[in-house]
Amino acid sequence: MTGTGNTNVTVHPSDDICLGIRGVHKSYDTVQALSDIDLDVRGGEIVALLGPNGAGKTTLVSIIAGLRKPDRGHVWVNGIDVASRPQIARRQLGLAPQETGIYPTVSVRDNLRFFGELAGLRRQCLRTRITEVAEAFSLTALLDRKGQNLSGGEARRLHTAMIVLHSPSLLLLDEPTTGVDVQTRNRLLELVRCLAEEGSAVIYSTHYLPEVEQLDVSTVAILVDGKIIASGSLAHLISTLGSASVELRFSGRPPELYLPDGTVPVGNDALRVPAKDSPAVTAASLLQRLDGAGGELREIKLLQPSLESVFLAITSNTPSGSEGSP
């Protein structure tokens, strides 16, 4: 995968690229939702799309799925131009939107069957795929249960299962674990990994940074104000942009202190201080300063460079980025 940001190329992506995006721009009235987006994703790759609220993640996913047209630029799925041949391109992809969308008054089986039929599966082939997908998503025992009688986690699993029946080569998952419990989240992440191992390219938009580490993604692309401002492998981003820090948690509000640049509040009772040297040295220096400054220190954490530190470093330098969460 590549996400180069400012490349002005309009060539047709090469054959081994499942998803190719070139120079995509999109605006709504006066708001620039996406600007100069370039991205290549190959089969088997998982690309995590991160960004604060309103960064343009959902708009990008919608454009890839052909639900919105870019003002400029092109998107290809397996070499098929999504804007000019959306119906054919959609046969190659599966989109699980942000909000759970299932038919509540029909059974799990009929929800799966419907999307299988729309994708062109028929008779025995369809029945076999329903069985396989239900098994993979732990829905077998629920096949005859109506959608309205599923728990939140079960509904979310069905929501995602509905897009994999036709084994699409590109999966678009827009915050797939929103509102689910830990078990369902882990199960979904495991399934995404399996689908990628089977050769599907995955665009995984999320707010939860630990998921990105858990998913073992090929690439992380951080989107802020409609632009990909950083992309690369997780290890690369952390080594180049990540920084260690020390987190101080107090009983109540933190005391007034002179602290280094880059210190950010975490909730109402904690501060995260960047560690210029090692976190241990910074922590020792902070403890000295706190002596006599008031405030009751409850906890001190030494944080190694992580995706979160990368994300905070990048988004805290942008106007909208400082407001949202990843």
Partner: protein, 255 residues
Amino acid sequence: MSFGRIAAIVRQDLKILRADSMPAVMLIVMPLLLMPFLKPAFNVALHIEGHQGATGAEQVVPGMAITFGFFLVGNVSLGFYREHAWKTWERLLASPAGTGEIMIGKMATPLLQAVAQFGVLFGLGGPLMGLHVKGSWLALCAVGAAFGLYLVTTGLAVTALCRTVLQANAVVNIGFLLLAGLAGALVPYSLLPGWAQDISPVVPSYWAMQGYKHAIFGEGATVVGPILFLLGFSILSVLVALVRFRIKDTKVGLV
């Protein structure tokens, strides 16, 4: 255009209808319950109109079919608003189904409902109400088909014009009373006030009522004119839908 995908959408909508079939059943049961109460009054009215030997069934059966047929306009809209409320609309758009396939599929189920509703009402009109079709059953079916087409295309136009299910319901409720009244479906045409008689021919339901009556009474009158008018109104509805329907518009459905 794939017949398989259209059929898949129709099958799914039929399953949804079957899962909550009471409203559809009521659209058949309610007119059947009302018919015996209205038939004696309509008998008198038809004699005043000069239809000697009429029983009243010739007015009450088509009248109730038209009146309760209007609710199918709302059913078409509901089919779209429901997808928005269940958050499945975006998924449907992102599926391999094309816009045309989705639209045809979503209109087909209410059209099948219209066929069922008219079939039962006219089918039971004979044994229960004493309806005797002196003209042609074929002509009667042709009028029913044209009226059904008008109802579903109007449903599409209403969906295109209304952003919320409440707006659509308001339009359907007002339209149902106004168009059924002006058609002479609730009160025979000859008993309508003069001003209503003057404007009746501009409403499609008037032509449906005329078509049904021509088919039932025979008497040399043709149903071609009423059918052409109904098809014309259907085309008008399709044009409104084509101009105003935005497949990516957000609709607010309270389902």
